[in-house]
Amino acid sequence: MERTKPITGELRELRDEVEGYAREFGLTYFPVVFEVCDYDTVCILAAQGGFPTRYPHWRFGMDYDQLSKGNTYGFQKIYELVINTDPCYAYLLSSNRFVDQKLVMAHVYGHADFFYNNAWFKSTNKKMMDVMANHGTKIRRYMDRIGQDKVENFIDIILSFENLLDTNVLFLDPSYQVREGVVEEDDEEFDKRSSVLRSFMNSKLDKRNAPVAKKVEDDESTLKSIDKKVRGTRDIMKFLMDYAPITEWQADIIGILREEAYYFLPQRMTKIMNEGWASYWHSKILTERALRDSEVIDFADVHSGVMAMSPKSINPYKIGVELFRDIEYRWNTGKFGKDYLECTNLFEKENWNKETNLGREKIFEVRRSHNDITFIDEFFTEEFCQRQKLFTYKFNPRTGRNEIDSRDFKEIKTKLLSQLTNFGSPIIEVESANFQNRGELLLRHVHQGVDLDINYASQTMANVHKVWKRPVSIVTVVEDVEHVYSFDGKEFKQVNLKL
């Protein structure tokens, strides 16, 4: 049963119209394919990260459950879904009003332009649709062979490391994100070679794929050289894939999950910009071109819903679109550069207008080369901060509430940046793969002011241990004091170690 249908009739005409405006404004993108589907299908697709086929895993089922409930109870609605592929697939909800479809299409062209042009997306695989489907087939095959529970449990473990990525990998050769093809079928039940022959051939296998634990006994120098090689690596998934004592199918699964994690990484690093850019364009295209008189109220209603501010979190749509508009305004009026910054006359500063008219050009340049951190770092100004009524909040243990802490610009900016650093995840590096010369693993949390959640850390360490199979330790800072925590397979405890 086909769950999605290509657009026809008036929607197609609408697409042509909106696309015309997008081109007129200078947006560039891979071809966009719109498909129409019902709500259930949108929930399925959204639960699967936008892709029609993924590997089997219960968490997709969980997300699907929550999404479809959110719709039934009416407190959540998915409006649009677009994926970064070539062609770029976007899904329209069949039950949406015509004006909604208009808005969604304009929004989608914004995303499509962003995917196509932003530097951080350059290395993402534009054929991900096929790759995901292949991953599904591969993992299903492993499940048939090894057992669904076994494979699913292993995936559960590996998902623990999904955020332990190195953003620099995005700028290496794209093939670096993919695990090199090793012989796919290599597990024992299906290996018809005699055991003697097999062990002989295994010994001839590439060293990289052989389990480390074995090397501990027979080749200490290898361990040392590995240790030297991996020190400081933040690509923990790759590290485990290459050096942990695991079987071929397990390494393959880590490779699959790692590839998918890197595919989604740029989207996590540019959430504010991406949504801001798309919102900027949907409002521009609709208000200046596509909107009919009768649709204005409906549009305003939907748009204001999307832009709603919340006291507890930053709405990326809102901050993003306002920042782009602010940049455009500043570069149109010349409110940038040395002269402007050094101007001490407040009146003059307020009415500054050099009619530079570089705004449009500037925002196109910004969407090409920035990610959320550099975007905020460079363009988040004090005036902007005040205008947007931003604040920081903190948990007050005395009242048991989260309370507004400060409206100080510097503090707000620091907080925003720290939330965005390393796409919001703690930075974890490998410190040693031969810790205490016993083949133990030592990780280091590069502390940047915020402590780890120790409870979560202990469970994560337990998962690392399941893969590494030797004691795992981590250096981190808790309340300004450096601590080492260790998990030896039985208990998680703080240890006193001279490092």
């Binding site: 049963m1 769950r3 299908t41 399925i44 639960a47 699967q48 089997p56 895993h57 219960w58 968490r59 089922g61 969980m62 699907y64 459950d65 929550q66 999404l67 407190f75 959540q76 998915i78 409006y79 649009e80 623990s160 332990l164 959430k271 999307v306 832009m307 709603a308 501010m309 919340s310 006291p311 507890k312 979190s313 930053i314 709405n315 749509y317 009524k389 931003l390 604040f391 909040y393 903190k394 948990f395 243990p397 009242t399 509430r401 989260n402 309370e403 507004i404 400060s406 939330q419 919001g424 703690p426 949390h445 915020v450 402590d451 780890l452 959640d453 120790i454 979560y456 469970q459 994560t460």
Partner: protein, 371 residues
């Protein structure tokens, strides 16, 4: 064919049910009850099962927000006031609760499995009959919609082989009229079991909020189990202090009266209800009485035992007495009942509920015998 995500969904449901089973004790003792949703489904709140990851500690971190207010103002606001845009939750956005819908049967199944509860055997002739058509046999006539293809095919094959018209090289089977087989129904008499549960609760001054909470939790789970066992079930509620009255469910759990305790008043009312509404030949009757065990006088206790012996126990499947420990109660009534009926009696089950942790055990006491 269904979308493969339905299988992921089924896996997820299985995992969830496992979690609920693991945490059943916690749910019961903390009074975190599934919330009935009205359509036979129950909503079970549980913390989201998330993958453990290295992540930042929540509270020390705080965050940034947008809006009016002075430093010191709370930002917690109304929950659920999130952004209606794209509902994708960022990391560290606080704990989201997972809401799981389970049907009554699923929940009861979990309870039954955890406590190893036996299936209830309805007693004697306490049944109502009804005829049900079941499609269990095969006939040679019938409407096309009930055609049994496999059997029809087999008949045709048999016929063709015996007539020698079957050619293995060109295995074409053509059924004719006499080969046709249809599913056909047989009428069966089914016994429908109906049951009535009559809850009696002592709401005198000595029964505090905690005690009532225990009764509430316990009766919820008992109801759940009985509902899964009987097709048709009625529940009646009686509260009493020195006098008894029948109330609705809401009042039953909320009322706080004060004053003395005459247990006999409740038992009398219970007896009257049974007499007037429930013929014990047709109904399975379960009177439950919860009290802290303080009765006004030994005189009254004597009267109670009398009513029980002659008018309630003979009509009931089992009479259950749960004694909730309270600071003020003497617990005498339990002793009196135990002296009369003994700890092991098929028709009377006594259980002491010390605190919330003991609820599950007490449920097992009541329902573990399967009668």
């Amino acid at each position: 064919m269904d979308h493969p995500i339905k299988r992921d969904h089924a896996r997820f449901r299985k995992i969830i049910k496992g979690k609920i089973r693991d945490n059943l004790r916690k749910y019961v003792s903390q009074g975190e009850m599934p919330i009935p949703k009205g359509n036979g489904q129950f909503k079970v709140p549980m913390p989201q099962i998330d993958t453990p990851r290295f992540r930042f500690g929540d509270k020390s971190q705080g965050g940034s927000g947008q809006g009016e207010g002075q430093p010191g103002d709370s930002v917690d606001g109304q929950p659920g006031e999130g952004q209606p845009g794209q509902g994708e939750a960022g990391e560290g956005e606080g704990n989201k609760e997972l809401e799981v819908d389970l049907s009554l049967d699923e929940l009861a199944h979990i309870l039954g499995e955890e406590l190893a509860l036996p299936k209830i055997e309805p007693k004697g002739k306490k049944n109502m009959q009804s005829t049900v058509d079941k499609y269990t046999s095969i006939g040679t006539v019938g409407p096309d919609s009930l055609k049994h293809y496999k059997r029809t095919y087999k008949e045709a094959l048999k016929r063709q082989i015996s007539m020698g018209t079957y050619n293995p090289k060109n295995p074409i089977i053509v059924p004719i009229k006499s080969d046709m087989r249809y599913r056909s129904s047989t009428s069966k008499i089914e016994f429908e079991n109906s049951a009535v549960v009559i809850y009696m609760m002592d709401v005198s001054g000595s029964m505090g909020d905690e005690q009532k909470e225990i009764v509430r939790t316990e009766s919820f789970w008992i109801n759940l189990w009985l509902k899964s066992q009987y097709k048709d079930i009625e529940i009646r509620y009686i509260i009493h202090d020195a006098s008894a009255k029948e109330v609705d469910e809401d009042t039953f759990f909320r009322t706080r009266e004060s004053g003395g305790t005459l247990i006999s008043s409740a038992l009398k009312l219970c007896r009257d209800i049974i007499k007037s509404d429930y013929n014990s030949d047709e109904w399975n009757i379960y009177p439950f009485h919860f009290s802290d065990g303080d009765n006004w006088s030994t005189e009254d206790t004597k009267l109670c035992l009398d009513i029980l012996d002659n008018e309630i126990i003979p009509h009931s499947n089992v009479f259950c007495y749960g004694q909730v420990e309270s600071r003020y109660g003497s617990g005498q009534f339990y002793k009196d009942l135990a002296a009369r009926y003994g700890e092991e009696n098929d028709n009377v089950i006594l259980s002491k509920i010390k605190n919330k942790d003991a609820i599950l055990e007490s449920i097992k006491d009541f329902l573990g015998k399967g009668n």
